[in-house]
């Protein structure tokens, strides 16, 4: 009996929610009208949940072509007065960045919340270990950082309130261990509304919506003034919270790191089963004061200064780059110049944190013994890498490529999707990999620079997302890579979301029509199960003087069932 528990309207009741689902619930409680997204781990379940429920509850939802388009759609809805949510993963934020900066200048009409999900340790992220906190400095975007699903829900609600109050978009930054964490979440009331969509209205107001100079510089000034007002709000906000005793040592933290800090301070006991080394102190048994920051931007600077004023030592516990630590260093110059600041000297900058890393850092910070002993692996265990599913149509493409060309001689461009696994040692046909759509863009550059033989792979959803401008560039600036569009009729890697070429209705946009419209003559659409035809097409197209495209069309084995 699958019911949509997320729609349960029983205030005070607790239900188990994933961080991403809790964001959805928070948006529903806030009365969201318009939601857009492009799928990307670890943000995908936000869109997937709305995809299931939106029609029933009078919320407009779309999977947009890419994150920039998703944000622009959201901006349009906000300008028209609707409550809007836009969700994406970290790399999507890069794609959307061009639209983000002016949106922070113009501000919102309908309250707008953006969710940007980072993936420390790159569990499902090929291209870089990104930290979206940096956007605060670049875009002056407000950033709230929840630690767990309850905060995901509460902070999303709060973000809508802040957005409404200050007429500015607010970003919720999550990380994998927040977005993919579950816990019982206490519900609040859902607003009464039917299944009918709310219509907004765009009211002309060029002074607000047009960022043309010289107005744009006035807007920047207004924005900076607004940020200082919001800083006052942040100073008084309960989500920036001091807890614990008053001592001469303290901890400043936020997001998932806060949970590991509390684990170390409150919840940690050594396994009673482990023999303690001679003289080893068992529990850390500490009650250090902790400043937990719910706001990353704007920071409550006075609150931080008050917290560090009476400390001798402070430990900043944060994942990835030391943004917070640098801020504390800056604030300590006035508030407490003698303060000893610890952070990245005890905590790694690469990879996600784990409770034992934080426990160890706090032990060192407080001159206690690290209470966990290492178990040595008794034997070396072979590594199990992700791989293409049995029956995946990409196996057929791989097989045809091996038959058609000397893989040592040809350069293979990879892109973002399941076919990244062409780069695993067993397959080994991927010579570069960067960001969405780049297999084609970089192919053009290599072709121009070298003239070497090159095959660029790109998936169907990725083609629509960012492949088309790069394809047009190969025609406009005349290069001749062979582009193989791996068309499995879905956005497979992130959980089979629809895309413009494979919507639920059969009137999708055909990739071959786009290719033809670019004037590309060397074009074939082949089901890779027809190996001979595929092999011949690859051989023929690889020697062409103009760009060639093979669309390898066969549905993902997971949706075929």
């Amino acid at each position: 009996m699958f019911m949509e528990e997320i729609l349960l309207n029983k205030p005070g009741e607790k239900i188990i929610l994933l961080g991403n689902e809790a964001i959805v619930r928070g948006a529903l409680e806030a009365g969201v009208n318009f939601v857009s997204t492009y799928p990307g781990t670890p943000a995908s379940e936000i869109g997937d949940t709305f995809f299931r429920i939106a029609k029933k509850i009078g919320v407009y939802f779309e999977y947009s072509t890419n994150e920039k388009v998703a944000l622009e759609a959201g901006i349009g809805a906000s300008f028209s007065g609707l409550k809007t949510l836009v969700a994406m993963k970290s790399f999507g934020a890069n794609v959307a960045l061009d639209a983000l900066l002016p949106f922070v200048y113009t501000g919102v009409k309908g309250p707008t919340v953006l969710v940007m999900a980072d993936d420390p340790s790159c569990h499902s992220s090929a291209q870089s270990e990104e930290n979206c906190r940096g956007l605060a400095y670049l875009a002056h975007i407000l950033i709230l950082e929840p630690s767990d699903p309850q905060e995901c829900k509460n902070f999303t609600r709060l973000a809508f309130q802040i957005s409404e109050k200050f007429k500015i978009p607010v970003m919720i930054r999550t990380t994998t261990r927040v977005a993919h964490q579950k816990m019982p979440v206490k519900l609040e009331k859902l607003p009464e509304k039917g299944a009918k969509l709310l219509k907004g209205r765009f009211v002309k107001d060029p002074k607000k919506f047009v960022t043309l100079p010289p107005r744009v510089l006035e807007m920047k000034k207004e924005l900076l003034e607004k940020i200082e007002k919001i800083r006052q709000f942040s100073e008084n906000s309960k989500i920036n919270l001091i807890q614990g005793a008053t001592l001469d040592k303290g901890i400043i933290t936020s997001g998932i790191s806060y949970l590991y800090v509390m684990e170390a301070l409150k919840d940690y006991n050594p396994p009673t089963t482990l023999p303690l080394a001679k003289g080893e102190r068992a529990p850390l048994n500490l009650n250090l004061p902790v400043l937990k920051l719910g706001f990353f931007y704007p920071l409550p600077e006075k609150k931080i200064q008050n917290f560090i004023k009476s400390l001798k030592k402070v430990l900043v516990v944060e994942e990835l780059e030391p943004y917070l630590e640098k801020e504390v260093e800056r604030l300590a110059k006035n508030a407490n110049p003698k303060l000893q600041i610890f952070g990245k000297n005890l905590i790694p900058e690469v990879g996600e944190l784990k409770p034992e890393i934080v426990i160890s850092a706090i032990a060192k910070f407080t001159n206690k013994k690290y209470p966990i002993s290492n178990i040595q692996y008794p034997i070396s265990i072979p590594k199990r890498l992700p791989q293409l599913c049995p029956g995946c149509p990409y196996w057929l493409v791989f097989s045809a490529i091996k038959k058609a060309v000397d893989t040592k001689e040809v350069i293979f461009g990879g892109d973002i999707g399941c076919y990244m696994l062409f780069g695993t040692p067993a397959l080994n046909i991927q010579d570069y990999l960067s960001c969405m759509g780049s297999s084609v863009g970089i192919a053009h550059g290599i072709k121009k620079a070298t003239g070497q033989k090159l095959i660029a792979f790109i998936g169907d959803s990725t083609f629509f997302h960012a492949g088309i401008p790069a394809l047009i560039n190969t025609v406009f600036n005349k290069s001749n890579p062979l582009i193989i569009v791996l068309d499995n009729q879905t956005t497979a890697m992130t959980g089979h979301q629809p895309h413009p070429g494979a919507p639920a209705t059969p009137d999708g946009i055909k990739i071959e029509e786009i290719v033809k419209a670019c004037g590309i003559k060397n074009l074939k659409v082949i089901d890779p199960i027809k190996q001979e035809e595929f092999v011949n097409a690859v051989k023929k197209f690889l020697d062409k003087k103009e760009v060639s495209v093979i669309i390898a069309r066969r549905p993902c084995i997971q949706i075929k069932k």
Partner: protein, 195 residues
């Protein structure tokens, strides 16, 4: 039985390979723990990392739980759906950790795999509480499918008191979470584990 008699917290992992249903098992156990009034945290991974690779999910419950990840050396129970993956999870084990492991090896291509005997011998070096059950084989034989292996193992863990959740709560959670058309099979699996 448990390191902490007051059940301040219980730490467990379910390990295996992508597609073995870890996330559903986690959902069932979390729901059952909620029925018993515990605070709960879980951690799981989605996306590319699932595609046939190693998958480990974490479940912690007790009076008040902060971290969604089990700390190194703190697991009370490691439930292994695959033997080599179970051995990998020894990072989280101490010598009293209970291992409940499916007697099954999913071979890793292109490398030398460990044998069942090698895995068992080494698991026993880590913990004195290792239980190896041919769960997939039993489910295949009795129910005609190994797809319910995980549900068999979590039910078994409850009947064997390896997890401080009443089997009746697990049954309730199965009834709540498993879609209608698979429910009968899962209820049979639960009964099979009861023995």
């Amino acid at each position: 039985m448990y390191p902490d008699k007051k059940m301040r917290q219980f730490n467990m992992l379910i390990v295996g390979t992508g597609g073995q249903g870890q996330i559903t098992l986690l959902q069932i156990l979390a729901e059952a723990a909620l029925l018993e009034g515990y605070d709960i945290k879980t951690s799981e991974l989605h996306g590319l990392s699932q595609r046939g690779g190693s998958v480990e999910v974490h479940l912690r419950f007790g009076k008040k739980i902060y971290s969604p990840l089990v700390s190194q050396g703190k697991a009370d129970l490691i439930l292994g759906l695959e033997m080599q993956e179970s051995l990998k999870a020894c990072y989280y084990a101490n010598f009293k950790t209970n291992f409940l492991v499916n007697k099954f090896i999913q071979p890793i291509s292109l490398v030398k795999n460990l044998t069942k005997e090698e895995v068992l011998k080494n698991l026993k070096k880590i913990s004195k509480n290792v239980i190896l059950v041919p769960a997939a084989e039993i489910c295949q034989k009795e129910l005609g499918t190994a797809v319910v292996t995980g549900v068999y193992l979590i039910s078994l863990a409850s009947f064997k008191n390896l997890i401080p959740i009443k089997s009746s709560s697990i049954l309730k959670a199965i009834k709540k979470l498993i879609p209608e058309k698979y429910l009968e099979l899962n209820l049979k699996t639960f009964d099979l584990a009861k023995g």
